[in-house]
Symmetry: C2
């Protein structure tokens, strides 16, 4: 599996963005977050973990993107297809790139008089200090508005090269899940299982593991977002591990449930019901269907329990991105969208079990990216 | 080492914030990011990896914090010292917590008429969609302003309990670095070393590894932020690994250099020079000194090469936070600040070597949190 993308891929992304920008009379789009910058440039580094420096990429209405970035990133950015790279020595308490960015935006937008679009819709944030954003608006004298969801809508439909990367990390994580019996059984602390499962993911080929959650308890767990406890797994527990591991910047996001010792009838029933719900979601996940249709198909099996708060979501360059499988989200499924199917079943007071699988929407329907876990709850 | 903090610790943080808020006539502070929310609540989860849901905490000018969060987080937030927890079912495309938050802010600020402070200075961002922020301002009818740096200045000085957690993860990472000979030698791909080093960190007790960078090349490396290449380590390379690993939500951030096969005289000299620079920085890092003084002490040894762009920075709940060791940053060092000393030496065209150690500022001077690497470049 080759890392990175061919320059054509970035060119195509830019072309699609520029067509939409022209429709909306945007003079430029200003990008500030890791996935948005990476989507249009290929700039991949874990250095975003440091909040100390802002990073900017300008998509002009025509012509090539401009990177306005801290000088520490210049060498790595120069390895991408981006050629116009403007740098400053960050962090600079007097002017942390604001003047450089304002000048670049004026240069790009000036002739057209169009507005600068900034991603402002669901799941977005502006990754620069609010104080600097105000300075930028004043210094540039330009009109700032939202990006009309252009960035998000482009990212929602994956190319074949993107799908291949997601499929690759799904395969890696599947191999790690196949080895859980090596690290988990009655008496082992859940926190140790979390550590060791991250190790298995790395051994099987994940670049890194940005996300791991899960839980354990009799016939289910209390929630799906808590850090692991140091207490030991007990006979009769159901343990769940849910990982967002990454290969070349693309995520998988799926989980597996395991019974510690023989499973109770209730846990077995719940697991089978989750499997049925996943299959119902898979059948409903066809081009033209709405996110809410896939939600309804799964909720009909599980009795409407929301489980993890929604019954699935898009994924790709982020652990979760794009549509939500809820009753309220009527986004249309399109070929190339990658989503999770994540039904939940309530198994007791403050107890639930959750399943999660990953699929890609194809012309003919859903194609599996994970090897579905099936009805039978595995026993450790 | 115990996880979490006693409620007294959070109470003290809140008291200090409220004293400063009263000085600035703020009616409330609105927090939206993971470290800011965690600092005042203890809310710790890797679920922030998902960008789909905003999270809010309100610090009132008097009284206890209010969490305004997605319902999926209610159970975990209820395990913290926070008692006023208001939830909505997120993501909600019609109103993603905006009305609930506006109502809570009006309730808190209404009587005083004070403004709502939002962290807006260096290293901050607003973790909610800009579009929703505009709706919030309109819906609440309140005056929004910056937080006068209150949040950042409180977080910059660590309590003994915080320092103990940072020391703990430094010790864990030191043990992992002591095992690098088990995973790296001539012929091994750097990308494999990166994977295996993350595994060692987990085996030694890190909860997770948000950051790993490094490089390898003859007498040094090209930059310190690139992902690992799949090409093999060669005899004569200097390899550097720089990790930000986490225990209970607190980071270490330091690196180690290794020669692959016998080190060249130039690499040996550079490593010794880096060690001297670290010691000069350590000696200068006393209460009352400025960040720029520590920078100057190290730059005098290295000849002013900026290496990683600055010669160190604060750390704690984030990989980098607070002051920067640059000529421009005149922040005063205070007891309880935890910083890195990170000098760099240019070893050739587009080549450098960087050292990094972690210290805490005490009344009497610097106290080491890492076991300093010393002058001798280890050979693998």
């Amino acid at each position: 599996m080759k890392r990175g993308f061919a320059p054509d891929e970035y060119r195509a992304r830019l072309d699609r963005a520029q067509a939409r920008m022209n429709d909306e009379s945007l003079g430029a789009i200003l990008l500030t977050t890791e996935p948005d910058v990476r989507y249009f440039t290929g700039y991949l580094t874990r250095f975003w973990e440091s909040p100390s420096r802002p990073w900017f990429v300008i998509l002009p209405a025509s012509g090539l993107p401009i990177a306005v970035i801290p000088s520490i990133g210049a060498a790595l950015m120069a390895q991408t297809w981006i050629t116009d790279i403007r740098t400053w020595s960050a962090p600079d308490p007097a002017d942390d790139g604001v003047t450089l960015l304002a000048d670049a935006l004026r240069e790009v937008v000036g002739p057209s008089g169009g507005a600068v679009g900034v991603p402002s819709g669901p799941e977005t944030h502006l990754r620069m200090p609010l104080g600097d954003y105000e300075l930028l608006q004043a210094a540039s004298g330009l009109n700032f508005t939202h990006d009309y969801g252009i960035t998000a809508s482009l990212r929602a439909v994956k190319s074949e090269a993107e799908i291949a990367k997601i499929a690759h990390i799904c395969t890696i994580a599947t191999r790690a899940f196949d080895r859980v019996a090596q690290i988990a059984c009655e008496g082992v602390a859940l926190s140790r299982v979390f550590r060791d499962f991250q190790r298995l993911l790395l051994e099987e080929g994940a670049d890194w593991v940005p996300y791991l959650a899960g839980g354990a308890g009799p016939d289910g767990y209390g929630d799906v977002i808590s850090p692991a406890r140091d207490s030991a797994l007990l006979r009769g527990d159901v343990m769940m591990l849910d990982t967002g591991a990454v290969w070349d910047g693309y995520f998988c996001d799926f989980d597996r449930n395991f019974a510690i010792g023989p499973a109770s009838d209730q846990a077995k029933r719940a697991h089978a019901q989750l499997s049925d719900a996943v299959l119902a979601g898979e059948a409903a996940a066809r081009p033209g269907a709405r996110a809410s249709d896939v939600f309804a198909a799964m909720a009909a099996i599980t009795g409407g329990g929301e489980g993890a708060g929604r019954l699935g979501h898009g994924l790709g360059m982020q652990l979760t991105e794009g549509l939500s499988l809820t009753a309220q989200d009527h986004s249309e499924l399109r070929p190339g969208m990658v989503i999770t199917l994540e039904p939940g079943v309530v198994t007791g007071p403050d107890r639930l079990m959750v399943a999660e699988e990953n699929i890609v929407i194809r012309e003919g329907g859903a194609e599996r990216l994970t090897r579905f876990s099936g009805k039978t709850l595995p026993v450790l």
